[in-house]
Amino acid sequence: MQISLFSSVLWMLTIGLLTAAPIAKSDLTPVKKWIASQAGMKSLSADFVQTRTFRTLRDPLERQGHIWFQSPDAFRWELGSPPTQIVLRYEDEMALIEPKKKRAQRLDPATTAKQSGRPNLAMMEFPLATDFAEFEREFEILDIRIEGTHCTLNLLPRDPEARKMVRDIQLDFDSTSHHLLAFEITFRDGSSLRNAFSNTQINTPIDPNVFGYDLTGYTVRDADP
């Protein structure tokens, strides 16, 4: 199993946008401010509900999850309650863990970045973009709408591999709390994935043990070459 662009985009956006600065009513100034604000982020913790819809399923599928990030390169993303999928990174080590199946796969952050087709889009790359120009090189901004305190940004990745799969990326912000409310990726086949965030905490201390995991008794597979 590979952590590919799909998940890379997803995590990157989560980490990047949970730290968003308020989006102004006009032009792209809010986005520029948000990019600039990332430099000050040291840690992040948030709950989320992930909703996936498919053309071949009548009803959406929902899972709860949590994300932690500690600057410069530690994070933990877990899905399910109790978690069924965990992606863990600490410094140069990275793993995909499936507690229910008692198995894990080591991942090479560098290779994972390459496999996404865009090294700077990989989830371990933070900050997302050093400046707005770089952000624009990565994404095409299609639309920005603001209704009350609710701000919606529509994007498309410029990477051809991602564009082949993704029809649209939508980000929802609250311009008062400066937090990301949700983001949604709609795929070419009509399926979609939406993460709605709550309980976002920025720059609060995180227990270092969060970024460790005991793999005793697990079947561990090495990273694919």
Partner: protein
């Protein structure tokens, strides 16, 4: 006698016409190489079965990915509007818009699995287990991080197609045989509506497709390239025609020019040119009786043969100028010299048959026949014309060139300059060493080919597999190939354990296993009627009807196959597209194709270790290495043998070891000078120009023989000997050099290097034979050279 002559001529004419109608061009460079070599056998199988002879690859490059993608689709659509030219134009995987078209491949892969796996699959779809299987799929859909796993599971909730992805057949990313990683480089596969039976068909068809594509591109501005097997055929055979015709005309033109300068007479010139044209037609016609196809090396024969055959014409004409006596006497006088020179020259060229390179053998046979035909035509047809012409016109005044050759100053200056040149070139060898040996397969390739350029670009932009070796496995039936595939996998795994290989991929998973197919189809029969139940299970779990399409198609395929004879192959369009590059099966032969990445520096050991009956590990680089291991050794044996034969013949002919020694020493000086000149000009030895040594032995020695005969005839009078043969040697060498040099611009690098090396060698040979041989001859008799009248 009156009837015999026209009958013989008529018969010859018929044979020549029949020969001409049979002959064609063959651009396959493997036809130039020894077919007993494992690399040649494997590559021949590869090209024969996997090169797609009627598939043109059109490459398309744009500034951005979207533009490239839409342009590729638009061009494919445009080409499909011409069904008279195009059978298919494919710009995207056939299954991209219809994933269910892979259903037969999925069904096929499953029945090739081990029976316990298939029993487990059947059990997972039993009335008791099917709901649980579907719940597992829902968990994957809700939790997996893998986009591929999610996409697959949503359309294949029972997991039939997992094997397809495990086999690596379905690419994960955008990069594929249709697109580069960045999407800016796209590839179209265009198939001809009609069979391309010969190179002229290929040239015409490619030109038509190119015209359509370029007209379409007039308002698009993308960069187009054309490659693939028909493009190679069109490119190379087109230049072969040009190489043969242009080099022949240039040789004829230069010959005419120097004849005119030397003798200042037009009529004998036209007669001589006519004779050469006749020689060319007869030779190619006779060759056509036993050769069906001219190779890229064989086409070089025309100009070489013209350049050599004209020598006999020069000799006859020169002799006719001061001949006193009958025509028969003129012919008899010339016969002796012509027998010597034509004999040694044709022997040297026929000796190329002893080489294991069929390309060189063909060249040798063609030139050898040409030289003998040339000698006969000149003696039988040209001699009467020359005799009659000079009888009527009388002898012309000696030309300025002839007068100059006869002066002591010319001979002294020539000798000094030749010594200086030879010493200079010899010191280059001492200081910089012998010319290097080029062990790559470069000499097998054309110098310029748009098709090669486009293919190199395609390799660079898609996946560069130039370092990979192709694993070709052949057998008489599916079972034998499967058994060899299993053997190859074992050998390759052992090679990986030894560190000789880094990775390998074989099509074992795709290859039919008849016993498994029989058992698994039996096991799966109970499922073929379970469609409604399985659909109901999906419906209960919340899936739509769309989720059942693939499952239904696979079940139906198993049902359809239950009455078919084994072994089974998938036959859908998508399956055929995937299999065409990895499997080939005909009534008499089955082939499988895989790839192996050798560990750097271990290529030779790996190739040796994997070699087995019907198992070939091949690449062009490995071919180059194998050829360079075998061919130079062969040439050394051949050259040594020929040198021995020549020495014996000369000893018998001259009855003087001293004279033979002088001749061999002269040859030695020629070879040392050639090595120095090649080193100085940055030329290298390769598979083809090694034959130059052999040819110089046969043709270059003629100048020495002529001078030695003249020296003996004139009682050691150097001035008289050089005056007698100076002009002849000059004319002969210039025409032969022109013949060889004119193939120096041939598109085939091997042929070109052979032509240039021979031309250089002959030039040095003429100089050294003419100016230094008399010096050596005098020294051998204890006389110090003098340059008097």
């Amino acid at each position: 006698m009156r009837i015999l002559k026209p009958t013989a001529l008529g018969l010859l004419l018929v044979l020549v016409v029949v020969g001409w109608t049979r002959i064609s061009f063959n651009v396959d460079i493997l036809k130039l190489l020894p077919d007993h070599l494992k690399q040649v056998q494997g590559l021949s199988l590869f090209l024969e079965h996997f090169s797609q002879p009627e598939e043109l690859i059109v490459t398309l490059e744009a500034k951005d990915a979207d533009e490239a993608a839409s342009a590729a689709l638009a061009l494919a659509e445009e080409l499909r509007h011409h069904p008279d030219l195009v059978a298919s134009a494919v710009a995207a995987p056939p299954w991209e818009n219809d994933p269910t078209s892979l259903a037969d491949l999925v069904a096929y892969l499953l029945i090739n699995q081990t029976p316990p796996d298939i029993t487990a699959l059947r059990d997972s779809l039993s009335p008791e287990k099917a709901p649980e299987t579907v719940q597992d799929t829902l968990a994957v859909l809700a939790e997996s991080f893998s986009p591929q796993e999610i996409a697959t599971a949503s359309y294949d909730p029972f997991g039939f197609s997992r094997l397809l992805f495990a086999s690596g057949l379905a690419p994960e990313g955008i990069q594929s045989e249709f697109s580069s990683m960045d999407g800016k480089f796209r590839v179209l596969y265009v198939t001809s509506a009609h069979g391309l039976t010969n190179y002229k068909d290929a040239i015409t068809w490619i030109a038509a497709i190119r015209a359509l594509a370029q007209a379409w591109n007039a308002d698009q501005g993308v960069t187009l390239g054309f490659t693939g097997e028909p493009a190679f055929v069109a490119d190379i055979s087109g230049t072969m025609e040009w190489d043969m015709m242009s080099s022949s005309f240039v040789t004829l033109f230069v010959i005419g020019l120097i004849f005119l300068l030397s003798y200042r007479r037009l009529k004998p010139l036209f007669q001589l040119v006519l004779m050469l044209v006749i020689v060319f037609f007869i030779t190619l016609g006779l060759a056509g009786l036993f050769l069906r196809e001219l190779t890229v090396i064989g086409v070089g024969f025309a100009s070489i043969m013209i350049g050599l055959s004209v020598d006999y014409g020069y000799l006859i004409y020169h002799r006719s100028l001061d001949h006193v006596g009958s025509l028969r006497q003129l012919q008899t006088t010339c016969l002796k010299n012509i027998m010597w020179t034509a004999g040694t020259t044709s022997a040297a060229f026929f000796a190329l048959n002893l080489s294991s390179l069929p390309g060189l053998s063909q060249l040798g046979n063609l030139v050898g026949i040409g030289v003998l035909v040339g000698a006969a035509v000149m003696l039988l047809l040209f001699a009467p014309l020359a005799f009659a012409g000079t009888f009527k016109a009388g002898s012309p005044k000696p030309s300025g060139l002839q007068r100059r050759i006869e002066t002591p100053k010319f001979r002294r200056l020539g000798t000094i300059l030749t010594i200086v040149l030879m010493l200079g070139l010899a010191s280059v060898v001492v200081i910089r060493g012998l010319p290097e040996v080029d062990s790559s397969a470069k000499s097998l390739r054309p110098r310029q080919s748009e098709a090669y350029t486009a293919m190199d670009r395609l390799y660079a932009r898609l996946s560069d597999d130039s370092a990979m070796l192709s694993l070709v496995i052949s057998g008489t039936n599916e079972a034998q190939v499967r058994s060899r595939l299993e053997e190859a996998e074992t050998l390759l795994q052992e090679a990986m354990d030894r560190g000789e290989a880094d990775e390998f991929h074989t099509p074992l998973m795709l290859w039919p296993a008849p016993e498994r197919q029989a058992e698994n189809l039996q096991t799966l029969q109970s499922l073929t009627a379970a469609g409604p139940r399985l659909q109901q299970t999906l419906d209960k779990a919340g899936f739509t009807d769309e989720a059942f399409v693939l499952t239904d198609a696979v079940l139906q395929q198993w049902q359809a196959w239950s009455s078919k004879s084994l072994p089974l192959w998938p036959e859908g369009e998508s399956s055929r597209w995937i299999l065409r590059r990895v499997a080939s099966h005909t009534a008499n032969e089955d082939l499988a194709l895989g790839v192996v990445r050798p560990h750097p520096g271990q290529e030779a050991a790996l190739t040796e270790a994997i070699s087995s009956d019907g198992i070939f590990l091949v690449s062009w680089e490995a071919l180059g290495l194998e050829l360079n291991r075998i061919v130079p050794r062969e040439f050394i044996i051949l050259i040594t043998g020929l040198l021995g034969i020549v020495a014996v013949l000369l000893t018998i002919g001259f009855r003087s070891l001293r004279d033979v020694g002088v001749l061999l020493l002269t040859l030695g000086l020629v070879f040392v000078s050639l090595a120095g000149a090649m080193r100085l000009l940055g030329m290298t030895w390769n598979l083809f120009n090694l034959a130059a040594i052999l040819l110089l032995l046969g043709t270059g020695i003629d100048y020495g023989i002529l001078l030695l005969l003249a020296l003996r005839k004139n009682g050691g009078d150097v001035a008289a000997a050089q005056s007698t043969f100076g002009l002849i040697i000059g004319l002969c060498s210039i025409s032969a050099i022109t013949g060889f040099a004119s193939i120096g611009w041939a598109n085939h690098q091997g042929l070109s290097s052979l032509g240039l090396t021979c031309a250089l060698g002959l030039a040095l040979d003429a100089l050294i034979s003419f100016f230094l041989l008399p010096v050596l001859w005098q020294l051998s008799r204890g006389r110090w050279p003098r340059f008097s009248d």
